[in-house]
């Protein structure tokens, strides 16, 4: 592999089913059902997906859900706020572990 990431992989995603059709079908059926309008709208789910895409730093998901959010009527302000939600949770989750650090430090220190 010349590079680890190729944008064509996004379009080729369904091919993953070729090696395991049953599991592939179950996954994609489930995936489709997750993103349908429900108690949350498809647009709200797409914004959550965009935030998660940034948290897991998946370039395929960022590409796909940027377009999907725009197509579902979200604008750049809303999408940027969604990314900040991911950033806040990532940053906050690091910072809250600081309390673990403090407990260890207090136990060991004088």
């Amino acid at each position: 592999m010349e590079t680890y990431y190729k944008s064509q992989h996004l379009a080729d995603f369904p091919k993953i089913s070729e090696s395991s059709p049953e599991l592939g079908k179950k996954f994609f059926d489930y995936y489709g059902a997750v993103f349908a309008d429900g108690a949350l709208t498809a647009r709200e789910k797409s914004l959550i997906a965009l935030a998660v895409a940034h948290a897991v730093q998946c370039p395929y998901c960022i590409d796909a859900y940027t377009q999907d959010c725009q197509q579902k009527g979200a604008d750049l302000e809303q999408m940027t706020e969604a990314v900040h939600v991911a950033v806040a949770i990532r940053g906050g989750s690091s910072l809250v572990h600081g309390l673990q650090m403090r407990e260890h430090a207090k136990k060991l220190g004088m």
């Binding site: 009527g73 604008d75 750049l76």
Partner: protein, 372 residues
């Protein structure tokens, strides 16, 4: 009105528009900039040059058949107070040459009186800027038709149109108003800075005139389209968000929402090309081809009449100068409203080209919103 008198009135109106510092303008017309793509032939050439793996007729050809006439759509001309980036008409304040004269308007009114179509759909440009707009509305109302005014909203705030919202409300004219999005960013990106604020003012004016309050005689329909090279959102899915968003933030109410796709024509085509999105957008439209969208396409049940009385299958074909293909049309100058006859119209072949993929992509797109 005689042509000389029409010219005089148009001169007055274009003088007012030139003085108008309130209406936002996102760009200038292709015509004004003498751009190559001002020519419909150049637009068609550019569309033909895009690499696509199929053609519209190969997918839709035999399924696309005329249906009984329901909508009589009249395009009064290309004059508009705005210059939105996505305009398929290439309308603007400079477009005073292409405006319907009174002789043609009289022929249109004759045809409206004869037609079985239940709805008269008036468009432009901003049709409200045409000196004979009220005359046409009144004639269509008197003929017992439902009348739709395709309105850009900001035109209602011009001093010359003071009282127009009430006048239209008294005649039960439906307002079909363009609003790209219920929030400011995407609306201003497409229509110019400040367009959103003025659109909200116009919507409040319409609400005050009784529009969008549940009275079936005062229906306010909003028309949204994407601010970019992607398809429209699902109408059913976003309508609740729009309703809540407009009500909560601006106290504005409306009756229904249409979501349209942007057509790769005129200024949107220019933007697609300039932004490097043309090929991927066309491929996106083709890949999203939805056979279920065919049945509801406007070209099946709509007659589109141009400012000069020429006939087309839809407003998009009109802008590309792709005239209607009637079985008996051998007349010099092309099929014209003076010769309109519904029987022959039903036997036409609907004229298509690559831009038609815009109407069949995703949930479909038509003058009446999504079709599938």
């Amino acid at each position: 009105m005689r042509p000389a008198a029409l010219l005089l009135r148009l001169g007055e109106i274009s003088g007012e528009l030139a003085q108008d510092r309130e209406t936002p303008r996102a760009t200038q017309s292709l015509q004004r900039r003498a751009a190559l793509l001002a020519s419909p032939q150049e637009q068609l050439r550019l569309l033909r040059a895009v690499l696509l793996h199929t053609e519209f007729d190969a997918l839709a050809g035999s399924a696309l058949k005329p249906a009984p006439l329901e909508i009589f759509q009249v395009n009064l001309g290309k004059l508009c107070n705005m210059t939105c980036r996505h305009c398929h008409v290439d309308a603007g304040p400079d477009r005073t040459d292409e405006m319907m004269d009174d002789a043609t308007l009289d022929l249109v009114v004759d045809a409206i009186r004869r037609t079985g179509a239940h709805t008269v759909d008036i468009t432009g440009g901003a049709p409200e800027l045409h000196p004979s707009f009220r005359k046409l509305v009144q004639a269509a109302v008197d003929a017992g038709k439902q009348v739709m005014d395709r309105c850009n909203l900001t035109v209602l705030l011009l001093p010359r149109n003071a009282g127009l919202a009430d006048w239209l409300a008294e005649r039960n004219v439906e307002i079909v108003a363009s609003l790209p999005h219920w929030r400011r960013p995407n609306t201003d990106a497409q229509r110019g800075d400040g367009a959103f604020e003025r659109s909200i003012r116009a919507l409040r004016l319409l609400n005050a005139a009784g529009y969008g309050k549940g009275d079936p005689g005062r229906r306010l329909t909003l028309v949204s389209n994407p601010a970019g090279a992607f398809l429209g959102a699902s109408q059913a899915s976003v309508e609740r968000e729009w309703r809540e968003g407009l009500q909560r933030n601006f106290g504005v109410t409306f009756n229904r929402l249409f979501v349209l796709n942007n057509m790769p024509i005129a200024r949107f085509l220019e933007w697609l090309q300039a932004s490097g999105n043309l090929e991927s957008y066309m491929q996106r439209l083709v890949n999203a081809y939805n056979p279920a969208a065919i049945a509801g396409l406007m070209c099946r049940n709509t007659l589109s009449v141009g400012w000069d009385g020429r006939l087309y299958d839809c407003d998009f074909n009109q802008m590309l100068e792709l005239e209607i293909d009637l079985p008996e049309s051998g007349r010099k100058g092309g099929p014209h409203i003076r010769d309109f006859e519904e029987g022959s119209w039903m036997r036409r072949r609907i004229v298509t080209a690559r831009h038609c993929f815009g109407c069949t992509a995703g949930a479909g797109s038509s003058c009446g919103g999504q079709t599938a």
